[in-house]
């Protein structure tokens, strides 16, 4: 790892000032991606600004129709939160399936979203649930947040404070995990809001996106069979040693069907 200056601000204002004054700063939350990247010298910030002591980023609030999760909430805190788990079990399930237990004890919701790893699980939930990301500058809807590979709508100095998840009538997440890493080769989350269906897809493209074609099919016929012959255009899909673009397109269809199946079985 290259050397850097470490800072531990205790307020957003202090974090902001430190960021503005530094040459090439970076914010760190759980560090589950950043620290390995720095060790591999893929990242070499001049200043690491640790957000751990900024209290505005903490806390989980469960309302009847929404769940608000502070950006520094770890994956295990989401997975193990009882009130959250009873009103929005799909989010607890997504969190419980991220990485391994040690990673879930450190990795955070805000860090995962700001990183926008194409194979991360949370982005599928944020997109499918139509969440709103509240930053220190503005509110960003999920549909506008993920831009490209490791690229989001956040400006460099912008910090996610919390994420507001609307609660659907029912939802399910199906993921085809890489056998070695556990990362989502493809993950599909289907959410039924009664008057609308939203589908979030991760792993397939450079960043998470809405499965609009699948949403239309499910709107007309909410069954796994409705997706059996759905067209999934693979233009721009990831193609690597783990899966070709064609295979990922196939997996989007299959994971979509599995999510719908699970959702229907849970409801019956």
């Amino acid at each position: 790892m290259y050397s850097f200056q470490y800072h531990a601000p205790t307020s957003l204002a202090e974090a902001n000032t430190l960021f503005t004054q530094a040459d090439d700063p970076i914010y760190i939350a759980g560090g589950m991606t950043l620290i390995p990247s720095m060790k591999q010298r893929l990242a070499q910030p001049s200043d690491v600004i640790d957000l751990a002591a900024v209290d505005e980023l903490r806390g989980v609030t469960v309302n009847p129709d929404s769940v608000v999760v502070g950006a520094l909430t770890t994956h295990n805190q989401v997975a193990e939160h009882q009130a959250l788990g009873s009103i929005l079990p799909v989010l607890a399930k997504v969190a419980a399936g991220i990485g391994d237990n040690q990673v879930r004890n450190r990795g955070t919701l805000g860090g995962s979203l700001a990183n926008s790893d194409p194979a991360a699980d949370y982005p599928a939930a944020v997109v499918a649930l139509g969440a709103t990301l509240v930053t220190n500058q503005r509110r960003i809807h999920a549909d506008e947040f993920f831009v490209d590979l490791f690229e989001t709508a956040l400006s460099p100095n912008e910090i996610i404070l919390r994420v507001e998840f609307p609660v659907p009538q029912r939802a399910a997440y199906a993921k085809f995990a890489n056998q070695a890493s556990g990362y989502a080769v493809v993950g599909v989350l289907v959410a039924d809001f009664g008057d609308s269906i939203r589908v979030g897809v991760t792993g397939a493209g450079p960043c998470a996106f809405r499965g609009c074609g699948m949403e239309q099919l499910l709107q007309a016929d909410f069954s796994a069979g409705a997706l059996a012959n759905s067209e999934v255009p693979n233009a721009g899909f990831n193609s690597d040693m783990h899966a070709s673009a064609d295979y990922r397109a196939h997996l989007v269809r299959v994971m979509g069907q599995r999510a719908v199946q699970e959702l229907l079985e849970a409801g019956s």
Binding site: Q5, M32, I35, E80, V103, N105
Partner: protein
């Protein structure tokens, strides 16, 4: 930079560059070499310790980040005369061969049984996903953890 760390019940002050990893302070500065470095890339779990009671990989945390945490290493849970129940169970069920992964396995297994009241074979295997063992084939490790989980469950029912 000068930092203070709470490890196994006592506070230690060390002077290290900001980019020093927690595992390096534990091993090089405090002489706690029971915590191992297997891969140094967050894959293998050999460096697992407890931070505020939960398992984390000490190769993926800066020492300076651990300043406000209570750190426990394998040296802090028991000794040769007073093994922790998880250590005793690994011995009883022959849950190790070369032993390199064992400290990390045990620290993770303790987190697992303390935070799950009803652990199945599959649950244990999923819970140990972040810990690699290249000798045992995992069966005896899973048996060792299952025995402790069952014991805790029986005690919980009895109370």
């Amino acid at each position: 930079m000068r930092i203070a760390l709470s490890v196994n019940g006592s506070v230690h002050e060390v002077d290290v560059p900001a980019h020093t990893l927690l595992v390096d302070v534990l091993r090089e500065h405090l002489g706690l070499t029971g915590t191992h470095v297997g891969c140094d890339t967050s894959q293998c779990g050999a460096c697992t310790v407890h931070a505020d009671g939960r398992a984390i990989k000490s190769c993926s945390l800066l020492a300076v980040q651990a300043q406000d945490m209570v750190i426990t290493t394998i040296e802090g849970i028991g000794d040769a005369d007073n093994l922790h129940p998880m250590q005793a169970s690994f011995r009883e069920h022959h849950g190790l061969q070369c032993g390199f992964c064992t400290p990390g396995m045990i620290m993770q297994a303790i987190d697992l049984v303390e935070n799950n009241s009803d652990l199945s074979n599959q649950g244990i295997r999923a819970g140990l996903k972040g810990n690699l063992c290249r000798c045992t084939g995992y069966h005896n490790i899973v048996r060792a953890v299952q025995a402790v989980a069952d014991q805790r469950k029986a005690q919980g029912t009895a109370e």
